[in-house]
């Protein structure tokens, strides 16, 4: 994995990309010790993605988007935000990947079509080529969202592209590069953001399944405010009911994520609070199997046999 120096660099790069407002004072101090001119830049590329993770990062309320852009902004390239395009964009991307523009951290959103390289092309070359080349020059990589971590929806059973996540892609090519996995479909902005805090304060973070333990160590079910209902067997019988959603198919019992305590969209809401069963979007096996549907309806006939 990363050594502490690399972690600091990674943290600083992420801080640079997404701002520093939400950080605790010691974390900010640690970041301030880093000379911004030497901070590695963040090169953000998308593979087989829906852009949902990028859009989710823009929903972060702390830091604000303003601090994301002005405090440091070392986001050297991002396909949705960059002013440049075409040949100029390619020159920029290639100069980093070829190691001519200094240190950088690779941020990847989206899966890699390992079985069909033509299914994701950037400037006439397969996305996979960029990942292979970058492995020689980058300081480290962050996989942002379930697609980049484990293949996500593009890797659902029966998929035609052979989609895989970044860590598996590197493993299969015998490339030894550390990848930090931040799962979620999409990723929660705090998970990306607070990973930085953790890295800076504690150094090498404790990982579980390659992801920061602090967010992904406990089953959603145990943290859920409806756990009491579960124990008392107060179950929602049909969609829209209150009560524990277990009988409707809630995947909280097998999903590791802290949504019940963190909430989404500025802390206003999260899935179960709207009486919607968790579909396990932060799980490595999210949406993988056809015979494990998201929902069980009690009136169902042959559908859950």
């Amino acid at each position: 994995m990363f050594d502490r120096r690399k972690f600091l660099k990674l943290a600083a790069a992420l801080a640079a990309a997404f701002g520093t407002k939400g950080l605790s004072q010691p974390a900010r101090a640690a970041l301030n010790d880093i000379d911004p001119r030497t901070v590695p830049k963040l090169l953000y590329l998308q593979g087989l993605s829906c852009t949902g993770c990028s859009i989710s990062l823009l929903q972060a309320d702390s830091p604000s988007p303003l601090s994301m852009i002005t405090d440091y902004s070392q986001l050297v390239f991002h396909t949705d935000l960059s002013a440049t395009s075409g040949a100029q964009a390619m020159e920029l991307i290639n100069s980093f990947i070829d190691g001519q523009a200094g240190d950088y951290v690779l941020a990847i959103e989206g899966a890699i079509p390992a079985g069909m390289p033509e299914a994701c092309i950037i400037d006439h070359k397969p996305f996979a080529d960029y990942l292979e080349r970058a492995a020689r020059t980058m300081s480290g990589a962050v996989a942002i969202g379930s697609c980049a971590c484990d293949g996500g929806i593009p890797a659902a059973e029966g998929n035609p592209t052979g989609a895989v996540g970044l860590a598996e892609f590197y493993r299969n090519r015998n490339i030894n590069q550390p990848v930090i996995n931040i799962r979620g479909c999409p990723v929660h902005p705090d998970w990306v953001w607070h990973t930085i805090t953790h890295l800076v304060l504690v150094g090498n973070p404790n990982l579980v399944n390659g992801s920061p333990r602090v967010f992904f160590e406990r089953r959603l079910h145990e943290l859920c405010p409806r756990y009491y209902d579960f124990q008392e067997e107060i179950f929602a019988e049909k969609l829209g009911d209150r009560g524990c959603l277990f009988r409707l198919g809630c995947l909280g019992p097998i999903t590791f994520a802290d949504c019940p305590t963190r909430w989404w969209n500025g802390g206003r809401t999260w899935c179960v609070d709207t009486n919607a069963p968790c579909i396990g979007c932060a799980s490595p096996k999210f949406a993988r199997q056809k015979d494990l549907p998201f929902y069980r309806l009690s009136e169902g006939k042959g559908r859950n046999s």
């Binding site: 001119r37 829906c50 852009t51 949902g52 990028s54 859009i55 989710s56 823009l58 929903q59 303003l66 852009i69 002005t70 405090d71 902004s73 050297v76 390239f77 396909t79 949705d80 935000l81 960059s82 002013a83 395009s85 075409g86 040949a87 100029q88 964009a89 523009a101 069909m116 033509e118 299914a119 092309i121 950037i122 400037d123 006439h124 996500g152 659902a156 029966g158 998929n159 035609p160 592209t161 999409p186 049909k238 969609l239 829209g240 989404w264 969209n265 206003r268 809401t269 709207t274 919607a276 069963p277 579909i279 949406a287 056809k290 549907p293 998201f294 309806l297 169902g300 042959g302 559908r303």
Partner: protein, 503 residues
């Protein structure tokens, strides 16, 4: 000369456009969709209720539109009676999401083509945010970095706004728009569960309750966004229009316009809509008939048969198919090219004299700009149409939220049959969105999505007709053939979403 102007940034997904330029004019353009995931393939054999979740992942920018289209298709298949609250919540969720999307498109995805970011260097006022941006840009440029002030720089050569105050105002609004986008999404998520990717939307309604403690924050968030639309967004669009009037005549697509209409005003499937549906050729509007839609794959990378109707759709990828240049299929309506999106929505509604607010705003702004309503078929027309729709929508959402009946049901009871089929049509912010589902033995036997950018960014069809965006590019005069900021402004005016187009 041949020039590829991709990768085109500040759109969603992977798009290249291959252009041929002769004497400074684009004489040919080919839109190459460069990504494929295969949703329609891996949806087969799944539980039908999975589909509104899975199809949302077609696009993280407009997931709610897919959730609604999928839910509507299933409601149609299951013959569901949606309670009034359920339909209203669908509208509140999807409508709020449209507001965010219009702002994102204009400010984050397009503004950098018109606004001169370096104007901020001369800022001398007291605004905290602008001072911060100024200091940052200065420090970045002084740093000797290879790519200072990314992602704003480097940028393409071209004419930018030269009015200092207009630039500064737009930069400030670029930043404020992000906050407004968050608010619109928070409003949507109050009922949708989270954004991106809502878990609370289902066929038959929404699992969230219609509670006063949710309605009030929804309204207050929408009100803030509404103020921004009126006081910042619309004036900024008009400022760009005033500075670049030639773009009323640049980027005209050749063909018809298609809109499925938007936001049902009642729970019944055939309810009147806030915006009227229709397909328009030569100014004449007809009712939409899904049977008239066929998809060609002659130039797309599939070996499956061409010219299939939506319910017969088949999809077999063939990545190295000879002469095929895109993963995007070429849908056609009655064999003809159509443009979909905000301009189509506005023009189709306007031509029918349907929504009085649309008529009023189109007449007012067309009068101010000295253009004909037909000139909404242009780069500026698409931007203005979004702004008009945002204004109409914000008012509608506030009124619609008053119609919720707290305490009444928000969900129908779902009991999917063993076999059924259904169509669901809505408008994503980028245009007409159609989902089709066929269920056999309680599982999905066929699922097909005909998506806005599939129409707009389609390649040549089997008759050789260029798609709407291709036709809008052909004939464009470009100053710098290598960079073609003019072509990119055209492409971005469509707000292409490649993940949607090739799902």
């Amino acid at each position: 000369m041949q020039v590829d102007i991709g990768p085109i940034t500040r759109i969603e997904g992977h798009l290249n456009v291959k252009t041929t330029v002769e004497n400074g004019v684009v004489t040919d353009a080919r839109c190459e969709g460069e990504m494929f995931r295969g949703f329609e393939i891996f949806l087969r054999g799944r539980d039908p209720l999975d589909s509104q979740q899975i199809t949302q992942r077609i696009c993280g920018v407009c997931p709610y539109a897919h959730a609604i289209a999928s839910s509507t298709a299933q409601e149609n298949a299951y013959r569901l009676q949606v309670p009034p609250n359920g339909r209203i919540l669908h509208n509140l969720i999807q409508g709020a999401n449209h507001l965010y999307d219009y702002l994102l498109h204009f400010y984050q995805l397009c503004a950098l083509d018109y606004v001169d970011i370096t104007a901020v260097l001369e800022y001398t006022g007291k605004d905290r945010e602008l001072s911060k941006v100024r200091d940052w840009v200065k420090a970045e440029i002084d740093s000797g970095k290879r790519y200072p002030a990314a992602p704003f720089l480097p940028r393409l050569s071209g004419k930018y706004l030269d009015n200092r105050d207009a630039n500064l105002g737009a930069i400030k609004n670029y930043l404020e728009a992000m906050k407004m986008e968050q608010k619109a999404n928070q409003a949507a998520a109050i009922f949708g569960g989270k954004f991106p990717h809502a878990t609370a939307i289902f066929p038959g309604g929404c699992t969230q309750e219609a509670r006063v403690d949710l309605i009030v924050p929804y309204q207050s968030l929408i009100r803030e966004v509404r103020d921004f639309i009126h006081h910042k967004y619309i004036p900024d669009v008009l400022a760009v229009a005033g500075a670049f009037p030639e773009y009323w005549d640049i980027g005209r697509s050749q063909g018809g316009f298609l809109s499925y209409g938007h936001l049902p005003l009642g729970p019944e499937p055939d309810s009147r809509r806030l915006l009227a549906p229709g397909v328009m050729f030569d100014g004449q509007v007809e009712a939409v008939d899904f049977n008239q839609i066929r998809q060609d794959v002659g130039n797309a990378k599939y070996s499956s048969p061409s010219n299939l109707r939506v319910r017969d759709a088949a999809i077999t990828p063939q990545p190295n198919k000879r002469d095929a240049y895109s993963w995007i299929m070429a849908p056609r309506y009655a064999g003809q090219v159509v443009e979909v999106g905000p301009a189509a929505r506005v023009m189709v509604d306007y031509a029918q004299g349907h929504n009085p607010e649309i008529k009023k705003l189109v007449d007012r702004f067309a009068g101010q700009a000295g253009i004909q309503p037909t000139q909404l078929n242009s780069v500026l027309g698409r931007h203005l149409s979004r702004a008009i729709l945002a204004a109409v929508l914000a008012d509608f959402l506030l009124a619609e939220s008053q119609r919720l009946q707290p305490g009444q049901p928000t969900m129908a009871s779902i009991d999917p049959p063993a076999s059924a089929e259904g169509f669901g049509a809505t408008e994503a912010s980028r245009g007409a969105l159609l989902h089709y589902i066929r269920i056999e033995n309680y599982k999905i036997a066929k699922y097909e999505c005909v998506v806005p950018t599939t129409w707009n960014a389609s390649p040549r069809d089997d008759q050789g007709q260029p798609g709407a965006m291709e036709s809008a590019l052909i004939g464009t005069r470009v100053n710098n053939p290598e960079e073609q900021i003019e072509s990119k402004r055209i492409v971005r005016s469509f707000d292409p979403c490649l993940a949607c187009a090739v799902h």
